[in-house]
């Protein structure tokens, strides 16, 4: 059985002014049907590049230099452009941080939705309108008829985001790629959109690849998380495993650095020192070594491979122990 999406050893490079930016390096990920996968990282971690590579929306200055992206067993990187565009409209879609990036300001919401549908299916305009209205209701826009007559700029940010989600889901895709869809929204609106996405995945069996910088957002909607640092996967596992038992010092640092509603206000936050690694540098060792509190000589010399630390939970860190070893030390302490 094929995974719905499987990224195998993907590398993406950008060329800019004679320098090379190593945006994504040797990244492998799997997304099973019906699952939601979160990709967490800071700016420059390569998370957005990864999403754009899947949709083949990379700018001309970027190139996939290695690896494959398999969607249900079909290689997206080798597929002819036409076939890919058909697939992208039908089975794969994407939503962005800024809805106005994909909504045309000069057409009403209704005509954009119906045109999208009619581009992929041979149906009448009336049929398309009915289905569009149904989809708008499904994303929580009760007054669908009114929304369809309106133009995108007349809608609030949250409503625009809902319209974009409706447009992405119209053709009944199996995979939705969401690139920071709630970052520009207010907390209360973000909460509604996250809940909506969760409901939709539960009801329709849709899978979501969720790109974000926030662990809080991941906890709300995702089953699995991959933490990206310097264009590499630092840690990969289920949401529960990562929150309860983070193995990579970067993940641990990130989780501790965010103030929560429970944290101790008297204590300083445990910040990660230094600044994020430059995309232009290709370190010999672990990309996190320079900021890592537990870095040793070996970390600077040798790049750690992603290895299993417990069943279904992987980390790329020399200090993260293998399951057998972890159990033994556990016994020692017990």
């Amino acid at each position: 059985m094929n995974s719905l999406l499987s990224v195998e050893n993907l590398s993406v490079e950008f060329k800019s002014g004679g320098r090379t930016a190593y945006a994504v390096n040797d990244v492998s990920l799997r997304l099973e049907a019906g699952e939601n996968l979160g990709i967490v990282g800071e700016s420059g971690s390569g998370k957005s590049t990864l999403a754009h590579a899947v949709m083949r929306l990379l700018p001309d200055s970027a190139a996939v230099t290695g690896g494959r992206i398999l969607f249900d067993g079909r290689d997206l990187t080798a597929m002819p452009e036409r076939e890919l565009r058909a697939l992208c409209g039908q089975e794969l879609s994407m939503i962005f941080q800024d809805p106005m990036q994909c909504l045309d300001p000069s057409f009403s919401v209704g005509s954009q939705l119906t045109e999208t549908l009619r581009a992929h299916e041979k149906i009448t305009r009336a049929e398309a309108r009915t289905r569009a209205a149904k989809m708008l209701r499904a994303v929580g826009l009760e007054d669908a008829e009114k929304v369809m007559r309106q133009y995108p700029f007349a809608l609030s940010g949250g409503m625009q985001q809902r319209v974009m989600i409706a447009m992405a889901l119209l053709t009944g895709p199996r995979l939705l790629i969401a690139d920071e869809p709630t970052t520009a929204l207010d907390v209360t609106v973000q909460d509604q959109i996250l809940h909506l996405l969760k409901e939709l995945t539960r009801q329709t069996g849709l899978s979501v690849l969720f790109i974000t910088h926030s662990f809080g957002v991941v906890a709300e909607v995702c089953d699995r998380v991959a933490v990206l640092y310097g264009g590499r996967v630092a840690e990969y596992g289920t949401v529960r495993q990562l929150f309860a038992n983070a193995a990579h010092p970067y993940t641990q640092g990130l989780l501790a650095a965010v103030p929560s509603m429970e944290s101790d206000r008297e204590q300083p936050l445990s910040a990660i020192d230094g600044t994020p690694v430059s995309v232009f540098a290709q370190a010999e060792g672990c990309p996190f070594a320079a900021r890592c509190p537990r870095a040793e000589e070996r970390c600077r010399r040798e790049r750690p491979a992603l290895h299993e630390v417990e069943p279904d939970h992987f980390a790329a860190c020399h200090a993260a122990k293998a399951p057998a070893l972890a159990e033994r030390t556990g016994e020692d302490h017990g």
Binding site: S16, G17, G18, R19
Partner: protein
């Protein structure tokens, strides 16, 4: 950013590095400077008199004695181009220089806003709608004619875009948070204007000045061609083109060569201006 660019610290230095990395722009800058310096320096030496007619050698093709040939009166075209260039550049640089007054108006309008802005902007709209050739005729009537006084008309024509550009730039910069930071620190308005605003609009304004200069050369030659230009014994490029037109069939090179020089001049100025704009824009980002 290239490696070399990284080692340069100052913004001006980085702009220079980027500009000189653009080979076409450097070549164009060289060509323009060559023409400019030739016109400014060579006529200071005793070269052939541009007004001396040689009836033995009318309408000659370029040869060893007359490098660019001779015109309908047997005058040396090269000498006329050099002397004419001197006056043309004189007119154009004066006009472009005078148009910098627009910078003062634009900055004042943007910085003070309110009524001052409205008055300057309306005044600028009015100036922009003056037909420049009529104005040139008017000036030639009022001031001593035939001495290149139409440069004032060119200056007036170059001013409005500069006013608009500098006003918009100032408004854009006043919106930046670092201006608010300076105000919060109690920095005086004069210092904000001189320190922050002028420094940050300088790049695009310099580019606009280059564009103005090439516009001035074109307008100046068109005016000369239309007969608004200078009178004998003065000579300028537009007049040369006009005279070349009289013998276009018998000696086409007499009009082609001057036009080519003007074309190369304007083109290279534009290329330099564009390269400068690109180099500056990258710094603004």
């Amino acid at each position: 950013m290239s490696g070399r660019e990284k080692t340069v610290r100052t913004p001006v230095g980085r702009i220079a590095v980027r500009f000189f990395a653009n080979r076409a722009a450097v070549v164009c800058l060289g060509i323009f400077l060559f023409i400019l310096l030739a016109c400014l320096i060579i006529p200071l030496f005793p070269i052939r008199d541009p007004e001396k007619m040689n009836m033995e050698a009318l309408l000659q093709a370029p040869n060893g004695t007359y490098w660019m040939g001779t015109d309908i009166y047997g005058r040396d075209l090269l000498s006329r181009m050099l002397h004419g260039g001197r006056l043309t550049f004189n007119i154009c640089f004066t006009a472009a220089g005078l148009s910098l007054f627009g910078l003062v108006l634009g900055v004042a309008a943007g910085f003070f806003g309110g009524r001052i802005d409205r008055v300057i902007s309306r005044f600028n709209d009015a100036v922009a709608s003056i037909p420049i050739f009529l104005l040139a005729v008017f000036i030639e009537m009022c001031l001593p004619a035939g001495q290149g006084n139409y440069k004032y008309a060119i200056a007036v024509a170059l001013m409005p875009p500069l006013v608009r550009l500098s006003r918009n730039l100032v408004l854009e910069i006043l919106d930046c948070e670092y201006i608010e930071a300076a105000r919060a620190l109690g920095v005086s308005p004069v210092r904000i204007a001189a320190g922050h605003v002028l420094r940050n609009i300088s790049g695009p304004v310099i580019v606009q000045v280059f564009t103005n200069l090439s516009d001035a050369i074109l307008t100046c030659t068109i005016m000369g061609y239309l007969g608004l230009g200078v009178r004998m014994p003065r000579v300028e490029w537009g007049t040369i083109v006009k005279e070349g037109f009289q013998c276009i069939l018998r000696a086409p090179l007499q009009i082609v060569l001057p036009c080519l020089v003007i074309f190369v001049c304007v083109l290279s100025l534009n290329v330099v201006g564009n390269a400068l704009r690109d180099a500056v824009a990258k710094e603004e980002r």
